[in-house]
Amino acid sequence: MNTGTTTPAGAGATARRRSRFRRVLDAVDERMGISALQYEVPEHANNLSWSLGALTAIGFFILVASGIYIAQWYHPMPEVANQSIRELMTGVWLGSFARGLHFWAAQAMVVLALLHMFRVFLHASYKRPREGNWIVGSLMLLLAYLAVFTGTVLKWDQEGFEALMHNLDVAELMGGLGVWFGTDLAAQVPIVVRLYTAHVAVIPGLIFALFVLHALLVKRHRISEHPAIPHPEREHPAPFTAHLRRATAYGLVLLGGLGVLAVLVPPVLGPTPVEGIETTRPLWMFWWFFPFEQWFGISSVGLAIAAIFGLIILVPLLDRSPRRRWQERKVTMGIAALLVLILVAISVYVWINNPNGH
């Protein structure tokens, strides 16, 4: 009978088991260097707003897992691509759920990345010596956009096809630089097949490579101090593994939330595409670029994309002052607020004037 007390013999057995476990851990650590993850992080970094980067990474891993499942049934030939998604959603066990999870996780990843960058911007965490890491993060955001874009095209419905047409127009305007994005490079191959390889291999591979670099630079520079808490010695530091552990807990919440959305609001698949019409509205995250074609022609779409991402990437080079409190960075914050307001206005414009979205 278990009396709830530990006998000396039992305590000895537990200690032996623990020391065996410890020896296994040490052996793995000696070979894999996992104790390098035990570096110290400040206390403020274990809060939600400072864990958004880790949550973005968790969103990426949810995307990879659901994407691997979907890929078993997706057929990237134009004749059957749209139909294969219908079959995935109606005839495959958990197919509709996996696609819903993928759809919502993609949007969550972009939202979380934007929120993470907003947090970094607000606290000026991109300032010396972290300028390079901001640029790495910005490139990851650009790649996340490309991943969503290619995923939109892969649906091969009217919305995806119209998105592709814009991509081809912009690629043509880029001349030689756009050859990789156009049809001339491999005229015998359907471009949806090439975009499929980009979506499942090239883009996630690049994101992962940059993610590793991003994480290594975080370790090298340490997590930045909070501008409103200038005395780090007042905080209770914790190992980075504690930060990961709490981020994983948030990740469970994220996964559950995405699961609820995947069940209750499954994504729509549009009609099979027909050339020569333009009648759909893109996903919300492309609204910032979408109406420029109507206003100023197709070349302005490419310029708008270059301007917005160029500005994001160049933030640490444009704001060189040592001040980190947002209250002391009036010009920087004012310009950022103005840009956000313009993007919100453009989004409202698209929402009102182009109601035909999925």
Binding site: I229, Y250, G256, G257, G259, P266, I277, N356
Partner: protein, 187 residues
């Protein structure tokens, strides 16, 4: 003020309704297909009528049953508010041979690649051989499987929330900031 004007102007700026992505086709069969796609994608009725009229006026009428197209146009015009669009879509689909309009053959079988002209869509061709309506899965709980998934999702949210609370740092950012403010104020 200038910003507010800009926001106001952007919101109220008049859009160009449905844009043709490229030069309009002179083939009635292609224009009929585009009319079907406009209906399937929920485009405004005016845009559909315009495209059907373009099909009737197209110089190349081969492969198109114009009588059916005219009937479809009458159905749309006779039912204001787009109520007749479903019937019109059926008539328009019957009016054309989609494979004739698109020029695509059958879906290729293994081994049918790299022999002269590929028998499948290449480049940015759509490969479309049937205009399928959009696929909108039912929202909400459809069956017992959805209930199980929702329960699992709720468990994930619950466990995650409990663990996040349990593993919270000793001090919140608000408290750390307050301590700093207090110590600076006492100096």
């Amino acid at each position: 003020m200038a910003v507010l004007l800009l926001v106001f102007g952007l919101v109220l700026a008049s859009p160009r309704a449905v844009l043709a992505d490229e030069e309009e086709s002179d083939r009635a069969s292609v224009l009929v297909l585009q009319s079907v796609a406009l209906i399937a994608n929920g485009a405004p009725v005016d845009a559909v009528i315009e495209r059907v009229e373009d099909a009737l006026a197209a110089p190349d009428k081969s492969g198109t049953d114009l009588a059916l197209v005219e009937r479809a146009l009458r159905v749309i015009q006779a039912t204001p508010g787009g109520a007749g669009l479903d019937r019109a879509q059926e008539l328009l689909v019957d009016a054309v041979d989609i494979r004739f309009a698109t020029g695509y053959g059958d879906v290729p079988r293994p081994g049918e690649v790299s022999h002269g002209e590929p028998p499948y869509a290449t480049g940015a061709e759509t490969g479309m051989t049937a205009v399928l309506d959009d696929f909108s899965p039912a929202r909400g709980i459809s069956d017992g499987g959805d209930v199980v998934l929702l329960v699992l999702a709720a468990v994930s949210i619950g466990v995650g929330s409990i663990l996040a609370h349990r593993w919270r740092p000793p001090d919140s950012i608000r408290r750390l900031r307050r301590d700093v403010a207090l110590s600076e104020g006492s100096r």
